[in-house]
C-alpha cells in the first residue's frame, strides 16, 4: 500500500536531523507507518548519520536475546520458571552451574561414596568431601580472577550483594541436590547420610563472609583447609567415630553458620562498594 502523497525529501532530512517544526514532524509521523517509500528514505538517511551506531548496537542485543544456540539448558529452565532474563543469563554464565562442573563434582562425590562402602574411614572421607562441593561451587561462582561473568556481574542492573545471594543460593541448591543424590548410595542410610548438610551450609556461609575481606579463592582455600584439619583433629582426639558430625559438632556448625550469616549481612555494603 503506497499512497500518492510523499513527504518531501527536504522535510524528511530535516525530520531525521531533528530540525523540523512540530506540525511538520507530526505530519511525517502520521504518514510513515503507511508508506514504505518514506520509511526507506528515513532508513537510508539514518544509515548515513550518527544513529547508525545505536541501531547496530540494538541489533547486537536482539541477536543475543533471540539466538537459541546461546541459550543453554539452564538459562532456558530458569526463564521457564519465571525468573527475569538477566538473572537467567547470570546464572548461565556461572561456571559452577555448568555441566562440566557438575560432572567433576559428581566424580569426586562418587569416589567418596564408593570409599564409604569400604570402611568408616571411607564414610568420614565422604562427609569431609560433601560439604566441600557447595563451598567450591560458591567460590567459583563469584569474584574476580575466577569468574568469566565477573564483568557482566558488575554491569548488571543489580547490587552486587543481591547478585551474590542469587548465585550462591542457586549453586547451593544444585550442589546439595548432587550431594544428596550421592548420599543415597551410601551403605547405611542412617543419620550419617545427612550429617554433611549443616556443615555444608556453615562452610558456604563462612566462605561468603570471608570473601568480603579477601578474594573468594583465598577464602575458599582457607575454609576448606580449616575444615579438613578440624574434622581430622576432632576425629583423632575423640573416642567416638565421626565425632565432628555428632550432636555437639552439628550444634557448633549451626552456630558458625549463624555467625557467618550475621557477618555477611553486616558486610553487604562492603561487597557493593568493592564492585562500585
Amino acid at each position: 500500500m503506497t499512497p500518492d502523497w510523499h513527504a518531501e525529501p527536504v522535510a524528511l532530512r530535516h525530520y531525521v536531523a531533528g530540525r523540523i517544526d512540530e506540525a511538520g514532524a507530526a505530519s511525517i509521523e502520521a504518514h510513515i507507518p503507511s508508506c514504505w517509500r518514506c520509511r526507506r528514505s528515513v532508513a537510508t538517511l539514518i544509515g548515513l548519520g550518527p544513529m547508525a551506531a545505536p541501531l547496530s548496537r540494538i541489533w547486537g542485543g536482539i541477536e543475543e536475546r533471540t539466538d537459541p544456540v546461546r541459550r543453554g539448558a539452564i538459562e532456558r529452565l530458569v526463564v521457564r520458571v519465571g525468573l527475569p532474563e538477566h538473572i537467567a543469563r547470570l546464572l548461565a554464565a556461572t561456571r559452577s552451574l555448568r555441566l562440566s562442573w557438575f560432572a567433576a563434582m559428581s566424580i569426586a562425590l562418587g569416589f567418596a561414596a564408593l570409599a564409604a562402602h569400604g570402611s568408616t574411614d571411607g564414610l568420614l572421607l565422604f562427609l569431609i568431601v560433601a560439604p566441600l562441593v557447595p563451598l567450591a561451587g560458591v567460590a567459583a561462582a563469584y569474584g574476580p580472577g575466577v569468574d568469566p561473568a565477573y564483568e557482566v556481574g558488575l554491569a548488571a542492573p543489580m547490587r552486587s550483594f543481591r547478585l551474590l545471594l542469587i548465585r550462591s543460593v542457586a549453586v547451593l541448591a544444585a550442589s546439595i541436590t548432587l550431594a544428596a543424590a550421592a548420599a543415597l548410595t551410601l551403605p547405611h542410610l542412617d543419620w550419617a547420610a545427612a550429617a554433611w548438610l549443616v556443615p555444608s551450609l556453615a562452610l558456604t556461609l563462612v566462605t561468603l563472609a570471608l570473601s568480603t575481606y579477601v578474594s573468594s579463592l583465598r577464602a575458599a582455600v582457607g575454609v576448606a583447609g580449616g575444615w579438613v584439619a578440624a574434622v581430622l583433629v576432632t576425629e583423632s582426639l575423640s573416642r567416638a567415630r565421626l565425632a565432628a558430625f555428632r550432636g555437639i559438632g552439628q550444634l557448633a556448625f549451626v552456630i558458625v553458620a549463624l555467625v557467618a550469616a550475621a557477618i555477611l549481612a553486616n558486610r553487604r555494603d562492603a561487597i557493593d562498594r568493592r564492585s562500585a
Binding site: M1, Y15, V16, G18, D21, E22, A23, G24, A25, A26, S27, E29, A30, I32, P33, S34, W36, R39, R40, V42, A43, I46, G47, M51, P54, L55, S56, R57, I58, W59, G60, G61, I62, E63, R65, T66, P68
Partner: protein, 189 residues
Amino acid sequence: MNQAPADPWADPRNDAALVQALAGGDEGALRTLFDRHAPWIYLRLARRCADPAVVEEAVQDTFVAVWRKPSGYRASGEVAAWLWGIALRRLIDRLRRPARLADRFRRVASPLRSPSYERSAEEQVLLGIQFGDLAGALNHLSPELRAVLQATALDGLTTREAARLLGIPVGTVKTRLMRARAQLRKELA
C-alpha cells in the same frame, strides 16, 4: 551476521509475509524487518524520550517481542503500525520501571484493553476542531501542551499511558488536553 544486508527492500516478501516467516524461526526475516523498521521507530521514539539508553532498550524489546510472539499480528492492517504500537508501549514499560504492583494487576486484569477500550483521547481533541491553519496552530502550542497532544492525538495513547510516558499525573494530562483543545479551537476559529 552483524553486517547489514545490502537492501532490506530487496527481499521480495512484504512485511506481513516476513512476520509470518518469524513463526517458523526465520532469523533472516527478523533482520529484514529490523532493517526496514527499526530506523524510523528508533527515531520516532527518540523524539518522545530524552534518554537514548531507554530508547535503545525499547527498540530491542520490540523486536525481541515480535520474534517471540509473531502471532500478535493480525493479518489485517499495516505491520508498521503494529510495530509502532508495540514499540511505544515498550518505551512506556521501560520508563515506568520498577512497575507498581497496582499497574501490573491492572494489566493482568484487563488483557483485552485496547486503545478503544478506554476512550482514546484522540477524539476528545479532534472533536470540534474545524480545519484551518492546523500546522500554525500546533506550532503555537506550548511544549507541554504539544507533548500531551502528540502522545494522545498522534500516537493514540490513552490518557493513562500518556501520563506514564510524560511522567505527569493523569489529571494533568486531562487538563492539558482541554487547554490544548481550547487553544486550537480559538486559533482555528
